[in-house]
Symmetry: C2
Subunit: 252 residues, 2 copies
């Protein structure tokens, strides 16, 4: 068996997330679902197919990672070309490498980086629909960037986890968090951590936007973290602006 690691980009607007979902009404359209079909076309069969994280409906990825095993050994370029010929237009594989048998796209993760994109022009932009959060208000990027520093470090992030989540270990280490404007009317929240709780980035963004709007006070993040209670943080920002941007591994 050969173990492979793929890197892919997908426009999440027409996907119900990554995770394959079978329902009484049939299989939902997921990235994992279309990828599995393409892998079977190319490799015949695959084993240990694993995505690096669950992503919600409408969430995008510029560098999602998937690992799997197959009994065929094909050159990396051949795998990329053959899979892309079998994948729909809204997902593409752009890297392939072989990895050791104990590698796992999810369990071997060292860090993940997410980006959340916002635009503030008064009128909505048809080309950004579903790809950015439209927030037609003034944003003080410098102030929000200063607030971001309070996310950094090792904390219990229960307050920034969707209520109802069953995960028990809610401690994560945020290595970096920043808020900046790459060009006029556009803003990016960028956050890197060893792992993320369910909806964590989207609740961080909602909290920052409530600090911006004055609903939450500047400097509130440490006390929200301290509460370990979802109800103290801001709203859950919609999936539109969220991109899984980078996944790092210490060894392959």
């Amino acid at each position: 068996m050969t173990d492979y690691l793929l890197t892919l980009r997908f426009d999440g607007r027409n996907f119900c997330g990554y995770q394959i979902q079978n329902t009484p009404n049939g299989e939902k359209r997921t990235v994992g679902g279309v990828l599995k079909k393409a892998l079977i076309s190319v490799f015949g069969s695959v084993e240990k197919l694993s995505g690096c994280s669950r992503t919600d409906s409408g969430v995008h990825a510029t560098a999602y990672r998937v690992s799997f095993s197959a009994d065929k050994t094909l050159p990396d370029d051949t795998v990329i070309r053959a899979l892309n010929a079998n994948l729909p237009d809204d997902v593409a594989v752009f890297e392939c490498r072989t990895v050791s048998p104990d590698f796992h796209a999810r369990y071997s993760v060292a860090s993940k980086k997410y980006e959340y994109r916002i635009y503030t022009s008064p009128v909505r932009d048809p080309f950004k629909n579903g790809l950015f959060l439209h927030y037609p208000q003034k944003i003080d990027a410098e102030m929000l960037n200063a607030s971001c520093r309070d996310f950094c470090g090792t904390h219990d992030f229960s307050s920034f986890m969707a209520s109802g989540s069953k995960i028990k270990d809610t401690v994560r280490t945020v290595y970096d968090a920043s808020f900046y404007s790459p060009c006029e009317n556009e803003y990016v929240f960028s956050v890197t951590a060893n792992g993320f709780l369910y909806n964590m980035v989207r609740i961080m963004v909602g909290t920052l936007l409530e600090i911006q709007s004055g609903k939450l006070p500047v400097g509130c993040i440490p006390s929200i973290i301290e509460k370990k209670d979802r109800s103290f943080a801001g709203f859950t920002a919609p999936p539109d602006g969220l991109y899984l941007f980078e996944v790092r591994y210490d060894k392959y």
Copy 2:
């Protein structure tokens, strides 16, 4: 009656162009069609509704212009807000102004500028699907930019018009044409003229790409123009990368 001029952006991927089209199978989904419905919701009725140009299926606009008359006089901001509330996500009005009764979005045009966007990365990009031409080859932007100069000036552009067009006056003045790379793996052909023949920009792009690939010789454009025969120019590039970028008027 009040005469209005609107500026709008649209993502053309799910539109059969601007022009309203009624077929035996019902009305096609056009920008003009959805706009007319929104105008009727806001103004009750409108007259003299005119787009600045026909655009083909799949062609985009960053600043399309539409003029119309209505018996209601509403503030510009109100028109923008009300129309956007009645338009689908892939089209938005971002400017509105009143104009003189003899103004016409199409007949009053002084110049139009189109952009054609190309990307060359080896693997297709899900976020550029339908918005760029994917051309996974090396492009020499400097060489193509030099070739662009041959388009400039007043010429009979019959060779750059879709065969079968019924237009008789095929002389147009190209004020500016350039080919450049705004960032790695991306290229833009930009062309400004007093008017364009049917498929003219797309045939210009196809011709430049055949110069790039060596199928047509460097320096061939003046002789192709001279032939006044469509068969001597390059292929018609697909609509994906084409944007109506700017329309200028001398007076309103």
